[in-house]
């Protein structure tokens, strides 16, 4: 007992690990393949994007990050980006324009994950010198810079060194095998351990270009737990330091009362809405859709189910620049609803709508029950279809499989109004969970295309707003709320800043502990 046990020291060190609880497993850490929130969280901590939302000014608009500055030519087609000096990859290699070009080429070649953002618009990418990279687009594309928040720069040398046989010609497998298991970025954290079925472990990258200060997190474990009660217990017992944003509202309300726990609420750029399938009876009739939208008890939904969330005003979250001021929140009006229904082609018939929602999510179950009760009042029967997320994605493939009404919670894919307009209502966007209204209108299409290539920002925003006005007039969805964004952590955690862009809220570099 006299000699100190070396093992004890190790266990003491275990306490320094910051534990974050995620709601979903990380499927991949390859920046060319990442899709969902937890994967983006992994990326944002392991890699650095070219641009970053302007967090310091509490804005989502992108500012240069790995990029130092950029220029757009007059045709609005050529973007020349200068790379910041002195960024080192975790391997020790210097980050150059070559790496940026490689990252984009690799993205397009693999054609997974976020590739869709660029595959149709990018003509070519070229590193003109060590510091400069040039993107050439085939059309003007207003949100281009915003999309570059999703381009996480990869260490091209490291990947080439570890390239295996593959389908990409002289690029072999584009380092896919290697990068699937290892991080190859310049981000603040290195991957030290990844148990695919439960956790990732990060360790601070000492030479990170933004430097380190006292109190910042040195070791982080991101653990996936799906049981909501377990997640709460973990936070309250102090075993976890921070937990994800997807618990039920009542859970955060409950956590608010616990000592040592901070629950942070922020108005979000998320959109809680219910796309109505415009190509399936009876919601193919505008008046039916209107009747449904007018029959919903928004007050109860916003107050009791969503816990005092802001009402949605149309297709774009209110806080996103470019959201139309002309579109107002809808409120319940049963008389108007009945009148609309009477005008519809289905008047006098028994009307039944299918309603698809996530059965294991308390909030969505509550919506289902509320809608069923509300719509019964105007004589519409709701057929409830509780499903899991995989089934929603599957149903979204065609208008036939898409339900009449589906519960969707959508966040910005890139910090631009384009994400919620073009990304959802342009005819080319089809078959994803975002497009379950099956909205298709040549006039709107044209406005959206024009908006992307508009000369001035003002003109552009006007076009985006116009598109929103046209879209909402068709009642393609029940726009419910821009729900409050919750997150909870122990009161020893400091520096949390809400960003509003998927995954960016959980950048461990910004946090520190007392």
């Amino acid at each position: 007992a006299e000699t100190p046990d070396p093992q004890a020291a190790v266990s003491g060190a275990g306490k320094e690990v910051f534990q974050y609880i995620a709601q979903q497993l990380v499927g991949t850490i390859d920046p060319a393949q990442i899709k969902d929130e937890t994967e983006v969280i992994a990326a944002i901590n392991l890699y650095d994007p070219l641009f970053y939302p302007d967090v310091e000014n509490s804005s989502m608009s992108p500012v240069p990050f790995v990029a130092e500055s950029y220029k757009v030519d007059d045709t609005a087609k050529i973007y020349t980006i200068t790379i910041r000096d002195g960024i080192k990859f975790q391997s020790g290699n210097q980050l150059t324009a070559e790496d940026v070009a490689y990252t984009m080429e690799r993205m397009i070649a693999i054609n997974k994950g976020n590739a869709w953002l660029w595959s149709d618009v990018l003509e070519k990418v070229e590193a003109t010198d060590e510091k400069t990279v040039e993107f050439t687009l085939n059309n003007p594309y207003a949100p281009f810079i915003s999309t570059l928040t999703q381009l996480f720069i990869i260490d091209s040398q490291l990947l080439k060194d570890n390239q295996a046989e593959g389908e990409f010609g002289d690029q072999g497998d584009f380092g896919m095998a290697y990068i699937a298991e290892n991080s190859a970025g310049s981000g603040p954290y290195k991957l030290v351990n990844w148990d695919r079925q439960s956790f990732l472990e990060f360790e601070a990258f000492e030479d990170y270009w933004r430097g380190w200060k006292e109190g910042q997190l040195k070791k982080v474990k991101m653990l996936t737990i799906t049981e909501e009660s377990t997640v709460k217990t973990l936070l309250v017992s102090g075993e976890a330091d921070m937990i994800h944003q997807w618990l039920s509202v009542s859970a955060y309300e409950e956590l608010k009362g616990q000592s040592g726990v901070v629950v942070e609420e922020d108005p979000s750029a998320k959109l809680q809405y219910f796309p109505m399938n415009m190509q399936k009876a009876p919601t193919d009739d505008k008046n039916v859709r209107k009747a449904i939208a007018l029959a919903i008890d928004y007050t109860t939904a916003l107050e009791d189910i969503l816990g005092n969330s802001a009402a949605a005003a149309g297709a774009v979250p209110v806080i996103v620049p470019g959201a139309s001021k002309a579109v107002l929140p809808v409120s319940q009006d049963l008389e108007a609803a009945k009148a609309a229904l009477a005008k519809s082609g289905y008047a006098g018939q028994p009307i039944k709508v299918s309603f698809m929602y996530l059965g294991d999510t308390a909030q969505q179950r509550q919506f289902a029950q509320l809608f069923a009760a509300n719509l019964a009042e105007i004589g519409i029967e709701v057929e409830q279809t509780p499903v899991n997320w995989a089934q929603v994605a599957e149903a979204a493939v065609s208008p036939e499989t898409t339900a009449n009404i589906t519960v969707i919670s959508d966040s910005l894919k890139y910090p631009h109004v384009d994400s919620h307009t073009y990304g959802i209502y342009h005819s080319s966007a089809k078959g994803s969970y975002r497009t379950m209204s099956w909205f298709s209108d040549p006039v709107v299409d044209e406005i959206l295309v024009n908006a992307r290539k508009a000369a001035t920002e003002e003109e552009q925003m006007a076009l985006y707003e116009e598109s929103q006005n046209l879209v909402t007039a068709e009642y393609p969805a029940i726009y419910m709320a821009n729900p409050t964004h919750y997150i909870a952590y122990g009161d020893h955690v400091e520096g949390y800043e809400f960003v509003g862009l998927m995954g960016y809220d959980v950048a461990f570099y910004s946090l520190s502990v007392k």
Partner: protein, 334 residues
């Protein structure tokens, strides 16, 4: 004995092959398009077709099956649509955790169930017997996931005696992947204590129902032994009670308990899925459940076959133990 074992081992194969065919067919019967799911919502038709071809899903079913079986023996268990990795690796990552949990659960079940059963038999119909029986029945009747939540709530949340989730951070040298065993092998007391603290609640939650079943069975068997002529005979020879109970009766009673241990192990592994979910245990459960949700063919088949194999092997071990205890089988006169 050798012949008996060989026969047992050969007996397992048809069932496992049958199981593989059954599950293979079931997965192909799944409605919906798992390839589309895997390719992601933004995938183009071409991407989807490419993936389908990559997975060999456009070949005839029979050929797919043969291909799969070939791969099974070369370590190529197919590509998981969800994790994009060889299923073999995925299962390899999670297997040890589930196995350790189930194994310890089984050990708990036997260690708790058998002595209580003996006690209940000895105190036949007295108060303690009734009490043991009532508790054991309740143990069977309470849903395991619910028990898991309750245990977690009481011992981890309210009392804070045990960690809420996980296997712990102290990883002993990886020899078998079973941490308790590994830490014993490397004489790492610290890691053993830590692993044990983590595994105790989940293993307990898992074992209760099985312990109860084993207890009931042991009790019944012991009661049955009591009326056996050779036990009466043993009394008539003036043998001490503890000899009669602990050897003459228990050994015989345990033989039939043994046969159900294989069965219990099966239900333990099944329930491990529930318990793992609650205790965030990094085992096969979340992988399999996600696999089911995402219609991840290869993952489902892989997991099922692995569980089938564990089950078969555990039954085989039970048979071996049975053979060791039962001389009739050991001496090959069965």
């Amino acid at each position: 004995m050798k012949k008996y074992l060989l026969k047992r081992i050969l007996g397992i194969l048809p069932a496992l092959i049958g199981l593989s065919v059954l599950i293979f067919l079931l997965t192909r019967l799944m409605p919906g398009d798992s390839i589309r799911l895997a390719a992601g919502t933004d995938a183009t038709q071409a991407q989807i077709e490419a993936l389908r071809e990559e997975m060999g899903l456009n070949k005839p079913l029979f050929v797919q099956y043969i291909d799969y079986m070939k791969g099974l023996f070369t370590g190529d268990w197919g590509y998981s649509l969800r994790t994009k990795r060889n299923v073999f690796l995925d299962i390899g990552d999670t297997f040890a955790a589930t196995f350790e949990l189930s194994l310890l659960g089984m050990i708990f079940a036997v260690v708790i169930g058998v002595p209580l059963g003996v006690l209940a038999a000895v105190r036949n119909n007295r108060f303690s017997d009734q009490l043991i029986r009532l508790t054991s029945l309740s143990g069977i009747a309470i849903p395991r996931f619910f028990l898991a939540i309750l245990l977690q709530f009481v011992f981890a949340y309210l009392l804070g005696w045990f960690p809420v989730i996980g296997r712990g951070d102290m990883v002993p040298a990886d020899i078998t992947g079973l941490r308790l065993l590994d830490s014993l092998l490397t004489l790492n007391g610290q890691a053993f204590a830590d692993s044990f603290r983590h595994i105790l609640l989940p293993a307990l939650a898992l074992s209760v129902a099985s312990a109860a079943q084993i207890m009931r069975l042991t009790r019944t068997n012991m009661m049955e032994q009591l009326s056996k002529e050779y036990i009466v005979a043993a009394y008539s020879y003036g043998l001490p009670k503890n000899l009669i109970f602990n050897r003459y009766m228990l050994k015989n009673a345990f033989i039939s308990v043994l046969t159900t241990i294989g069965m219990q192990f099966s239900s333990l592994i099944g329930s491990a899925f529930l318990v793992e979910t609650v205790f965030g245990w990094p085992g096969m459960a979340s992988y399999s459940i996600a696999g089911l949700m995402y219609k991840d063919y290869n993952a489902i088949i892989g997991v099922t076959l692995v569980i089938g194999a564990i089950f078969a092997i555990s039954n085989l071990l039970v048979d071996i133990a049975y053979g060791i205890i039962d001389p009739q089988i050991r001496l090959g006169k069965a």
